[in-house]
Symmetry: C2
Subunit: 198 residues, 2 copies
């Protein structure tokens, strides 16, 4: 089974090294990994065309994959990388099994509360709101309910683990736990576990 390895590791200074470690780990659990950056980006005239070319490659790789393992560790803020969220939605729509990990154990509600410095109040409508009036989801979920819900609906799981701050995008323990669980669920019954939509 081909596993699409989504996550913000592509932005790391040592991206290639970390992607290669993820690829080797995925292989050791019996998966055929595909990850952003596997294909060569053609020469383009403009920066925008280069961005579009990379997007097209990643969509092609996803369309060739049977499952996704997404790194939802909060990136440059309180939520998962939006590119990774897009890819998770893409693979969920294809009916593929979806798994995720995060190197942060604070849940979505706790992180948004932190953004508001704890100034969160329960309103008469039963929803918690920040001082800007915006509601906080309080569903015991790692991130926005579409992400957690999409994974749960496809019999997946989100593994969370607290790591040292300087290991936030380097520690692959939770990723490996994801691989172990995904292999247990999918590789014994590979033929029946292909994307439901295909």
């Amino acid at each position: 089974m081909r596993a699409y390895l989504a996550g913000p590791e592509v932005f790391l200074p040592n991206a290639r090294e970390i992607l290669d470690r993820k690829i080797a780990l995925a292989r050791s659990y019996g998966f055929t990994p595909v990850s952003p950056g596997d294909l060569v980006v053609p020469e383009t005239e403009t920066r925008r065309e280069r961005g579009l070319a990379i997007s097209a490659i990643n969509e092609k790789l996803m369309s060739s994959a049977d499952l996704i393992i997404a790194n939802l560790t909060p990136f440059r803020g309180i939520a998962a990388d939006v590119g990774t969220a897009f890819e998770l939605g893409f693979m969920c729509a294809r009916g593929c099994p979806a798994f995720a990990f995060s190197n942060c154990t604070e849940n979505h509600f706790e992180r948004v509360s932190g953004l508001y410095n704890g100034d969160v109040r329960l309103g008469p409508d039963g929803r918690h709101r920040g001082p800007d009036g915006m509601a906080l989801e309080n569903f015991d979920m790692a991130d926005n309910l579409m992400l957690d819900g999409g994974i749960a609906a496809r019999d997946g799981i989100i593994i969370t683990r607290q790591v040292a701050a300087n290991q936030l995008f380097l520690d692959l323990t939770a990723f490996e736990e994801c691989l172990r669980i995904a292999a247990g669920k999918l590789l014994k019954q590979a033929t029946s576990a292909e994307c439901a939509a295909h």
Copy 2:
């Protein structure tokens, strides 16, 4: 054509009012709008089950829709709402036309540079990086390349507009421009414009 209206407006204190304004505008341009919150959430035992039930409703609404119009205005940080990003990826995988708007004209590169207080350097590998070593996408795009790329690949467009800070999630001018363009592209040729995957 059924248009799924994605965006973080569901978190507003006056969410119902704004969603109703979006629904009325979408109808006035000839679309049949569906939006998160249209269906009643069944009673559940736990908070997590409630979140999962809302996710299942939103996925069902998306699966009934023919296109998406996503609000990518940065939400609680420098990027689009991750739930909206998931939904955009979901609809792109279904082969549906995708349109978006943002009430922020700063592009992705400018917003991430701002997060780093401008401390961004061009490295020997040709990529801009922040002091944490993380690369910044510099593709003249509104957000992460998967979002802009997914929309462009489906003949869509992102309309951006600067609005007053207190109107960030209330001003519907860019949304209406999106509707006008989507109607021009899709409603004259509705039968041929259904989701490619269906």
